[in-house]
């Protein structure tokens, strides 16, 4: 049982000693997942709001497809991105595979159905009423989208955070397109997975603690924010 105790002791040492490698990994994790979430949100929130309000043919089928994609396995996304970015793939000449950029691309694709689906479903249930009021007050299409985003702000933030949590805690996509290369594409989850299989527990435990901490902070932050409303 000693190795567990020692593992924790070493983990705390790594964290409190500001171990360069550990913090580099944490930074890359936060950077990749935050960037992916932001890129996806900027596109998916206005689009999701618009599609939720709008009546169009095949809306039911669209909803069902979108909701299915929301739970797409991350390894599938990783695989697809890897194929596209690989040497012989359509975007091979950009030489992106095994770089943080590839990881951002993969995570953006991973959270896109999630953010789009959550926004769309929110807008479908609550957007119509806001749109109606907007129209009666003289709002054009663009005004209505902005108004709806503002009115649904709290729920949208919760959705964004949910997506970020999914991104930062997934292993499959970043592992496949990033390759878990030391000092280049190693993130929290891929490191934990690797260290675990090597039996090197201190760093795995240290990063596990950080990952837990991140999700605690995020969750308490949205609860206190959502509670304000």
């Amino acid at each position: 049982m000693d190795y567990i105790y020692d593992g924790f002791k070493e983990a705390i040492k790594l964290l409190l000693g500001f171990d360069k490698e550990v913090y580099g990994i944490i930074y890359l994790s936060l950077f990749v997942s935050t960037t992916a979430t932001i890129i996806s949100s900027l596109i998916c929130i206005p689009v999701g709001i618009y599609l939720g309000i709008k009546e169009f043919k095949g809306k039911k089928a669209f909803s069902r497809t979108l909701y299915t994609f929301m739970s797409i396995p991350s390894v599938i996304v990783g695989l697809v991105v890897a194929i596209i970015l690989s040497r012989r793939g359509p975007f091979g000449r950009f030489d992106l595979l095994y770089t943080p950029k590839a990881m951002i691309i993969a995570q953006t694709l991973l959270v896109t159905p999630l953010i789009l689906g959550l926004t769309y479903s929110l807008s479908k249930s609550r957007g119509k009423e806001i749109e109606k009021i907007g129209i009666t007050l003289g709002a054009n299409k663009r005004d209505i989208i902005i108004l709806t985003i503002k009115e649904l702000k709290v729920d949208l933030i919760v959705n964004i955070v949910t997506a970020f949590s999914r991104a930062i805690s997934e292993v499959g996509a970043v592992m496949i397109v990033g390759g878990n290369i030391k000092n280049r594409t190693r993130v929290i989850t891929t490191t934990i997975s690797m260290m675990n299989s090597m039996g090197d527990y201190p760093m795995a435990i240290a990063l596990g603690i950080v990952l837990l901490l991140i999700s605690f902070i995020i969750n308490s932050a949205i609860y206190s924010y959502g509670g304000e409303d």
Binding site: E129, I130, I133, I135, T136, L137, G138, A139, D143, E151
Partner: protein
């Protein structure tokens, strides 16, 4: 703004809700729309407001079909108020902001109307936290602030105390007199219709009576 409705038919699934051959809402007048529950009053208002386009027939506004500028010049006050999650003063200023009125003038005009509605004490409150009656006043103030040419009101005073009803009726009359804006108001209150209306339309099972 004069409204003319011709051969209007509205269905929900198979059921016919409205059947109006010819109806004119006179320009510059206050017209009351009365009739029992479920007779189609709100449905008619929604169609005139351009919110419901799923009907047969023609609705014209000063002879024109509905278009962007007509949307900008009319408003509908719903029975159930929906205010934005902003301050009361921002709610009331919103239609002016949409019309690119400059900040200083918005402040002045919002201040004016808040004074007239006697809701100074609510000005800085978050609007979605107001009581039902308070919300209805703010709702009407928000509709009047931009001087629409057509004001559609769906039971605007249904759960309001007598003192506030007086204020709201006074403001509706003032709006009509000062701006010559056309008003169409749904009400179940005959006394109210006597106090406010120049004309009355009676709707029963989707048909216009006398």
């Amino acid at each position: 703004m004069e409204i003319s409705v011709k051969n209007l038919e509205k269905y929900y699934s198979e059921k016919q809700i409205l059947d109006i051959e010819d109806l004119v809402i006179e320009k510059g007048k206050i017209t009351g729309l009365i009739g029992p529950n479920g007779s189609g009053k709100s449905t008619l208002l929604n169609i005139i407001a351009g919110l419901d386009k799923d009907f047969y027939g023609v609705v014209k506004y000063d002879g024109e079909l509905i278009n962007k500028s007509i949307y900008k010049n009319m408003t509908l006050v719903f029975q159930k108020p929906y205010l934005f999650k902003k301050k009361v003063s921002e709610n009331i200023g919103y239609p002016l902001k949409l019309r690119k009125v400059d900040k200083e003038e918005i402040k002045i005009r919002v201040g004016e109307i808040i004074g007239r509605f006697e809701i100074e004490d609510l000005k800085d409150k978050k609007a979605h936290l107001l009581s039902g009656g308070e919300s209805q006043k703010v709702n009407l103030a928000r509709a009047l602030v931009f001087d629409p040419k057509l004001l559609l009101l769906d039971e605007p005073t249904s759960n309001i105390d007598p003192e506030s009803i007086k204020i709201m009726e006074r403001e509706i009359l003032r709006f009509n007199e000062e701006t010559k804006g056309t008003v169409l108001i749904v009400t179940h209150n005959i006394e109210q219709s006597k106090r406010l209306c120049d004309n009355l339309i009676y709707l029963d099972e989707g048909k216009v009576g006398f």
